[in-house]
Symmetry: D5
Subunit: 91 residues, 10 copies
Amino acid sequence: MVTSIILINAQKSRINTIAEQLQSFPEISEVYSVSGKLDLIAIVRVATNDDLALLVTKKMVDIEGIEKTETMLAFKAYSRHDLESMFSLGM
Amino acid sequence: MVTSIILINAQKSRINTIAEQLQSFPEISEVYSVSGKLDLIAIVRVATNDDLALLVTKKMVDIEGIEKTETMLAFKAYSRHDLESMFSLGM
Amino acid sequence: MVTSIILINAQKSRINTIAEQLQSFPEISEVYSVSGKLDLIAIVRVATNDDLALLVTKKMVDIEGIEKTETMLAFKAYSRHDLESMFSLGM
Amino acid sequence: MVTSIILINAQKSRINTIAEQLQSFPEISEVYSVSGKLDLIAIVRVATNDDLALLVTKKMVDIEGIEKTETMLAFKAYSRHDLESMFSLGM
Amino acid sequence: MVTSIILINAQKSRINTIAEQLQSFPEISEVYSVSGKLDLIAIVRVATNDDLALLVTKKMVDIEGIEKTETMLAFKAYSRHDLESMFSLGM
Amino acid sequence: MVTSIILINAQKSRINTIAEQLQSFPEISEVYSVSGKLDLIAIVRVATNDDLALLVTKKMVDIEGIEKTETMLAFKAYSRHDLESMFSLGM
Amino acid sequence: MVTSIILINAQKSRINTIAEQLQSFPEISEVYSVSGKLDLIAIVRVATNDDLALLVTKKMVDIEGIEKTETMLAFKAYSRHDLESMFSLGM
Amino acid sequence: MVTSIILINAQKSRINTIAEQLQSFPEISEVYSVSGKLDLIAIVRVATNDDLALLVTKKMVDIEGIEKTETMLAFKAYSRHDLESMFSLGM
Amino acid sequence: MVTSIILINAQKSRINTIAEQLQSFPEISEVYSVSGKLDLIAIVRVATNDDLALLVTKKMVDIEGIEKTETMLAFKAYSRHDLESMFSLGM
Amino acid sequence: MVTSIILINAQKSRINTIAEQLQSFPEISEVYSVSGKLDLIAIVRVATNDDLALLVTKKMVDIEGIEKTETMLAFKAYSRHDLESMFSLGM
């Protein structure tokens, strides 16, 4: 499983709408609206880098109101939870 | 459930050690070592703000090698997964 | 009581109007127009994180002239004053 | 009443100690440990600019662990609360 | 005497016009067009903080071409000159 | 008269000492300790650019505690005051 | 062979189109769409500095959607591959 | 083939030594010492994300003199060259 | 001779045009289009500060396409060349 | 002729010494100590990119007190002066 975390700045008035659109993508497991200098953080869990590329450079660019994104590849996940099965079994 | 995301910069040589220490805390459900300008991202899932405060201002400060942290409160989670039960049932 | 401090940059010509609008919200106890690189600072005192989320991601986004906000959750308040009773009793 | 808000970055391990020291000064009505890119925010309420100057350039400089401060003068306070009497009556 | 120094970025083509407007305000004793990352620096000398607040949040906001301002309160003036009498006697 | 404005960041504990040293230089007419992201602002009034160069690259470098300086040449002064005579007549 | 690396920020919706245009220039051997704070990175391999200048200040400026570029000259290449022959032989 | 580009700031006196060490790693196909705000740029070409993670979070951290790194995953390569065969055939 | 160096950011498509306009001013001895985060660097050699002020705050502001300038006064020139005679004799 | 401009930040107390050392290098035609956020600017005029590389990555790194450098390649020089002959003829 390829995990990626995307930091997002967006138009304040469209934060909720954007979050709903993002979480409707199968590649995205969770979206959080957050305090601080960012507006949204999306957690991406996909099978391959190409899926991640498709999401970031194609699917997300059509979402109105996203002003800035910074995509980070997760090198390694550390958790007592079995994230792979949790999220791949559609839990 | 109070969710928070912590962006972390750390000494390169201690990234793995720090990640192991962080994920051993019950408050932290996942830690990712990441590409880009950050080194680690921790996902915190706790019952109350006080639990979050205790983690950030007490427990984390004793971890050697953390250079900078930025804690963000999640206002709202958007997900098709039932995150509350997934993570609170110890899945 | 959940306390939060919001740093705000706004259009110079609307600073006073925005401050009046913000302080009319029950969630906001004080607003200050300030010197320095910011324009306004709002002190939020609410019962739950959801109240804070509603204020930041819904109510505040309709205020014209706000250019940038940075919301910070107060982990802990240190004061010889009994802030909880002062502000919750409508003092 | 001259109100000022001071944004503070401090050594993580001394945040609580510093907050206690700051709130012991009569000039400071509240100190908050906060999430985000800052560590502490202090609300100063004094009679004159000289009191503020004394606090910032003399009294605070002796506090160990403060790394960076940014002091902002409040031009005007907007609140349904009578802040002047609340804080000057030692409430 | 309350002294304040305002750092100003402005539209290049309006620098001279803005400087003339600023120095026409009684609150402003000197304006300098400067080299470096700023465009103008204004020295404010007034009787009270309220005069300063009125200048910054009301009078200056109507000046066309000002892009960014950063107002700093002078805690203390150090000079062999008797600035208070020099500037208050209209020298 | 060549006027220059120097923005200074300094060790908090040495702000007053540094201000006294700076204002003792004949080239410097006023020094202000200030709120905001800076610590001190010095106003330099000299006869030639060489005097300014001598001050900045020789005399000031020996002052202990100055962490960062940014020197700006004033292209033009705008004031109803006759600054040239005020400061050159030792007023 | 003169090698240069160009860091590019571009309109999200035109990333793929821009990459195709860039890689069609003979001066550019590879273009990568990337994660992180940048959008594209182009590797330039040309015979002379003038070829590099022509590319950056003439040919690239006509490409719609490029928001910011930062061109860096490679002083020296370190590789076990014979880059010069690889890329100049049209491999 | 997973391609990644790493932006590196390093101690000036160790730039050449670091570049030699980096290019000796099989994961790294080229290293360039560059003009501008960076010092080195490494091009990584590996089979899997795990290889990239091992390089960045383990192998590179032991290299003395690296001050800051920013690793970017290449989503897609655009080139008239057959990069995959060029670099995987040890050309 | 008063020397000044001006760092310039400009619209990419107008870099050459702007450079030609700048070098046509008698105050400017050389203009370079450059790699890196800037676009142009102009070397100014004039008789007095007033000439420099006139160039920066009047003549240059009419040039279309200049987005940002940062003017730096040269305190002292260090060179084995006799710059004063080279440039003042129209060499 | 390959021209390059190097922006330099240095320890204040060593600015003059560093400038003398830099201008003693045959590759460097002029060095200026400057006002503003930088300390020194060096103009490099050499025959080849390799000469520039040798200067920046070898010769300059031994100079004590240089804290940060940013080297920019001049793509094109615009001047009514014949810079090539002026500086290559040792004028």
